[in-house]
Assembly symmetry: D3
Homo-oligomer: 281 residues x 6
């Protein structure tokens, strides 16, 4: 995490004159306090590196026995901190906001991954539906939960979506994309029918995304691809309206990837708290 | 919204070479397309100004008949757009990410406001539990939903929280805060007992926040304040563990403000879509 | 002070190739020099934290026996520095520019505070008339001098000024502001007559600012408010054309706050110098 | 002026939710208001381009009959504005802060220039004693007043100051500087005695700066340089403790440049106001 | 191109007070001048969009009949400009610096592409050896010349290089990479022997890069892969020490991609000039 | 080098999730590796400070026995590094890109300087033809090679070029420039004929630049200036179409400075490599 980023986030929460933190008389300023950060729910950890970056910035010494991706129980201590009282007070809300959100994402991802594991090797992926400004942190939280980050932005792999296809026609769009893509990039096409799935697979795209198909239609499309001998050369992704409630149904359809915007936008925050102990305890 | 901000958000989603958008041959580049943005759920609007700022940046002409705070129904068209196809495709995900998140917040806020309206004049407020980097947009969404934005950051009003008080003692902390505050700032104190509530009110703070009190304890505290003749000179806020399920209970306790981090961190995104229509339709 | 800020200020003064500092042969580069920063006038200190932030950035070790707000005499040594010669030379002008300006503000503020102390409990406040780009430093200098920082920007408390009132009418403007304000914010109204002062007080604003009133008119307004039983529920501020020459007159009018843009824009710089001593002295 | 700069200055004054400006009902939002900016003192204009850049940013139409450097009288209208009420209210303080400060500098500079004009061709220059963050605006204000901007930063010309010389010795320092300077740069040396002035002139520096010399000593130094035949090949600058009270004395010593930090740091703000007129007036 | 970027580049070249451009009297300021930008060498165009972004920023009207990738002859007019004299003078050097460099890259790329076209379908790609700060412009210039941009940064596809393999061993590294990669990413492995090429292909990587192999060794490796039935499932890239002098030899080896850092770092600038014509010509 | 700059350059190369560097299991993360940076060609060093700034940022310990400007031989080790494997891998390409480019510039500059040294005292200078975004690094590389950096930007000295003169006429332009220049700035005029050279010299400019003159014409112009007694009071620069092939011819013409854009834009990168050794070697 860059210092320029850290300072931008601090600036949002701090303002120019944090009086609440300066009510303490000067003799407290030098006092080293200790504090712990713990959670009140079972969860999957994420964002520990983000939290550490803030603690480093504030010269707060930090210890943890966990790594991103570890499952912990309600009450477990995530971090033990020691540093100046004022610094800990200033880092508190900012770090908890990151942790609450990112651990929430990792926990929801892990829950979905657990659901599908007994059923197939399907991957659980997020999408570009991310909170503006913190995509990289959210995608890393999905990875911490055992999910797949999918592409990061519009440029790092090529995805022809419904609107691109509407504009160009599917054949022309795939042809143009194959012509323009770097050899390092995969080409993915969003299709809404079995016919288009076959067409795209025949034209040699790397990934087809079955958009908003019911599980039954997904199964039929996979079968047709198999019959045509096209199944092994492509990756099949399903997306659209899939969340933790129906993910298992899709996991049984024989596809490779289930992508769910909900991993991020339906992930509620985990309740993470900081408890202070005065250094004279 | 600043151009520097707009470009930072675009940069996150765009990368350096968006091939998917450039598969169209040159004759399409100049084509003006039209598109609509609509929602699939009943909701309360927010972030319309944010969306417009992005459309302006991309030279997309935009029309709407709504204002932030308007309630709309599933299927209602929020925006009608016209502009270059490539520009609309580039703005699409970014704008939808903002709208999905912010409308979600406004809608949850409005729902809580509706619940308490028949019961009392209590205000529903958010807190500093916000997604890092976009606090101002989230607070404005709470306002759009009829909520109160609470203080923005650590400097714009003074709030003595549990950890400040642990450090200094409540009397010393309030005394110091009163000494250091600007005459333009209110002083709020977080208390965990009726006794501290009385003490803080007697010392002349502007707001007391009853932290994690059960509704019964809140009622007893309000009663005690009344008996002491202190009720009218202070604002009473309750916070901690309040969400849409128990908000009505707190609304009946006679307090002035209920603050809920959950307005933001439990607000799921509203499903907002962009549908394209070629200009030659 | 953020590193991003520090570097922006350094960038302004340094340019890409400071030859004057590199005329020294390489054997001097490693030499540790010592230097002192002292003032040639009696003054009230401010900006010591700003200076320290620059010294830290340049790895210059710094010692001081003073705090912001301390009164010192001409000739007193503010800082003792030790570090690389080149670093001290590069930090010199930048630090002196901040200190000269900020100590000037604190000193003028202290002088005004001293004048009114024997007369009343009135506070001396600055305004939003600050030098663009360094408001937070200037406001902290006013605080160091014993003054009140007033609101920081247009959003952290609400102030209805002459032009807002001209647009809306005073009643409508106050009504709208009360409706829109957060419970954490105070509402201030600028009034130009006793009648409007009474009206605003009756409508329950927190602060009234008597704009450009002569001391006599201020007294009459305060009296009228008292007679109406409104005096105790509001804070009364006077502003407009008040500076160190007439501040005592206003201090005797019975108001709570005198705000003066001149604390900042009429504060001449204090003469602060850096004197070098070679380490082999 | 860059948009990135404009937005940084606005951000300082605006915050996230300027309620005072939004108390007006929606029907006022589209109303075009007119306003004038005028001054209450005779002064020399500066910063008109800065003001225009802000007005442009806010889509405020602006007219003026003046140029930077023009002398105007108390009451003269500097700008006539028309635009949305809210935009004018938001630009108001920011623009007035710039104008008050920069016109103050230009006016003080012009006053000093006027004093010395009848006496000699000496130039009045500022120094690197500038307010951190806005040096370029302040130096342009000095130019508007008829002064000389001196060098901008440590890299654009070479100046060997007392501390450089203390470190290296004057001969070695000049020799090194001549070796390292680009052919496009002038070399200036600060000297504290006539002897060093002669030495520096003989070694071929472009400018000598007589530091903190009394007028008498300045005259003696100029005379000695003339006797040695060195006068015509160098520029002589005097600096240190010169302000508008003693500038005429130095103007008569036969030197080329008088540099005064006080042009900037003793320049009080000019009183500039914005008066609104509703469009329906 | 973002406005924040444009301003950063302008800031580097402009400084605070461009006197050379302001020597003209005021009556020239409003004069519209016309100018042409042309080249003195045959070349392949690139960076036209970059140039237009600067002209737009400076309100210079610009016309061209070319697109990036077009081949033009010495003397052809790339752009015809009209706008204020001062604006054109300020944009001149900046635009020419971009065009000279980027057209140089496109021209060298096109020359290499032309050489290999008659020999095979091999692609010519650049690498991450790019000038710090302007990679995206340089990669787009390679694309304009008909080359392949290769991956943009360390995160958008996975490349195990010699040092990664030295650290982990090739099998362990590939296994880990396959485990960690998103389904949207290709995995490339740099190999230094035929044996490692076979191993990597068997493990199912997408691309193997033959590092610093002589053409003969490349041919032997391709043959072995064919014999093993592995040729069709992977992309073969050769890199290391290939430039326009030996590129044809590698083109005949049966590989898919030749990557050359030299496309960028050996591309000399094309001589591009701006010629002014006064509007009254 | 500022941290804000360092992070901007890293951001360009790193992206959000560098998987190639994280394939190593956790036990490697703490391992300290050592590596060397060496060159495969004889060259003149530059950019060592830039490289060190990146190593510092990544907490990589670095040693070198060289300074910028030192000539080294193929195979010489420039830096010895020790630090975390992952950090070295992340810094690698970025540092090598800077070193390859900057050492290339210093080496070409040194080569030109060597050619002219036996012939005259003429200086070899670069121009404002620099790669956008990294001018300061390129100019410092020219200095490392023994060249002259010329002016940095449009504001730090005054240069009247062909287009300025076309606009104003040479006499009017010089007159205006002399009027507007600071006493700290030199004035340079670009001339295309001996007549204009004489005129400019008579008017007292500091530098004349003979633009695109053949060596014979340069000699005639110098002779004429001598005959007119103007030679000693001005600096004569030749520019336009001069590179390492014809620089000696110009060195013999009796001028003071030869400026060559080609020092930067024809300087090919030097081949610089990083070789890793595991810490257990």
């Amino acid at each position: 995490m860059f210092i320029t980023e850290i300072e931008r986030f601090i600036d949002e929460d701090l303002g120019y004159n944090d009086i609440s933190c300066t009510v303490a008389p000067d003799e407290f300023a030098g006092v080293t306090a200790t504090a712990t950060i713990f959670t009140k729910e079972n969860c999957t950890l994420a964002g520990l590196d983000v939290a550490k970056a803030f603690f480093d910035y504030f010269n707060i010494h930090v210890q943890t026995e966990y790594l991103n991706g570890d499952d912990i129980c309600a009450g477990d201590v995530i971090f033990t901190l020691s540093g100046s009282t004022v610094s800990i007070l200033r880092a508190e809300r900012l770090v908890l906001n990151f942790l609450g959100h990112l651990i929430g994402i990792a926990t929801l991802t892990r829950s979905c991954v657990r659901k599908v594991e007994p059923l197939s090797h399907v991957r659980i992926a997020c999408t570009r539906k991310t909170t503006p400004g913190i995509r990289k942190f959210e995608k890393m939280a999905v990875i911490a939960g055992g999910g797949d980050a999918h592409r990061f932005n519009l440029s790092d792999s090529i995805m022809l979506k419904d609107n691109h296809i509407k504009l160009m026609g599917i054949e022309a769009a795939i042809k143009a994309a194959k012509n323009m893509a770097s050899f390092t990039q995969k080409i993915e096409v969003e299709v809404e029918s079995t016919g288009d799935a076959i067409l795209a697979a025949k034209m040699g795209v790397d990934i087809i995304m079955l958009d908003n198909m019911e599980p039954g239609e997904v199964i039929r499309t996979v079968e047709t691809l198999k019959r045509e001998g096209l199944r092994d050369s492509i990756i099949i992704e399903a997306s659209g309206g899939i969340d933790q409630d129906n993910v298992e149904e899709y996991a049984k359809t024989g596809i490779d990837v289930i992508s769910m915007g909900s991993l991020i936008h339906k992930a509620n925050w985990i309740d993470v708290s900081l408890e202070f102990s005065m250094s004279n305890d």
